[in-house]
Symmetry: C2
Subunit: 177 residues, 2 copies
Amino acid sequence: MALPREYLDQECGLARSLEIVGERWTLLIIRDAFYGVRRFSDFRDHLGIPRAVLAERLNFLVEHGILKRDAAASGRDEYILTDKGERLWPGIWSLMAWGNEFYMPERRRRPFTHTDCGGVVGADGTCQACGARPGPDDLTIHPQPARRRTVKSDPASQALKNAHPLLTPIREASSAQ
Amino acid sequence: MALPREYLDQECGLARSLEIVGERWTLLIIRDAFYGVRRFSDFRDHLGIPRAVLAERLNFLVEHGILKRDAAASGRDEYILTDKGERLWPGIWSLMAWGNEFYMPERRRRPFTHTDCGGVVGADGTCQACGARPGPDDLTIHPQPARRRTVKSDPASQALKNAHPLLTPIREASSAQ
DNA sequence: TCTATAGGTTCGGTGACCGAACTTGCAAGT
DNA sequence: ACTTGCAAGTTCGGTCACCGAACCTATAGA
């Protein structure tokens, strides 16, 4: 599996990044991890990804130190972003902002706010109220202004119908379930 | 080809972005376009990408307005970033910075400078001399401090042995060849 | 003991990607 | 006119990743 996913001869940080997070589904899995998704079945249900692919990707990300596997009190393993994983936020944010700008009508974009001050965060990542550039641990995601008629019923979709700070688990008391 | 590359049900700008630029090679092609690569064979030689894949990607990117195909004076077509394509720079920069941080020893990273003032640009994208956040049209890429023993001989690799402003063609007078 | 659920693994089919060979179009040389 | 040369693809057979569906295993509760 090593060779075919590598970009040989490319002496460039971008090529190195894409070898790790450039495969199908990988960045969406990491995005969900920022949203607080931690369990296998929650990723699976929220993304609609085949089980085998999800298992392979999670193992790969754990191996490479983007996620860590943690035995929660429930006995179920959880996949949690490491510090290295959290540093992917600017890349995810930038790509999301580009996709929003060119492909999402404004009413369907999920607003992000600066958790500390409550200000809305603009496409460039700065808080429009206080001018800071909040990291993921200081951002809150909100539901779409124009709610879809049919909201999916998986736990992640349900949790994200309300405002939700990034990096906090979508399941209440995941450590005490 | 439509369905298998789409992420259905994902009501999110990131999913939309990845449908366009999330396939293998695509972001590297766009990175090369920022470096000033414009011709089919220059992409091909610099990236080592199979011809069929390159042809398919270039067509796809033209169709979606990231590149435009332009008949140069030489008679050869050139692929040039559109404004929409140039707006991908923050995402490319962020992923490159992450890859550099975790996978590239500092001596092998290509420095970028703010073309206007000459200051070095840090990982967060700000000029360390003047504090600005230069866009791609105001950045210059430099060769690696630790030059590799064997530098590839394709035109793009040769051009990038010297400092080179982004978005300017790697071939001299490409419009008057 | 029986059932339900989480978290996978296995399996056969399909499609993307690969390098290599082939084709097309233009342009200069002779 | 004919040939050579090269850029820019297209075609082709083989391989590998991804797909949905079925199956497996461990644990918890009734």
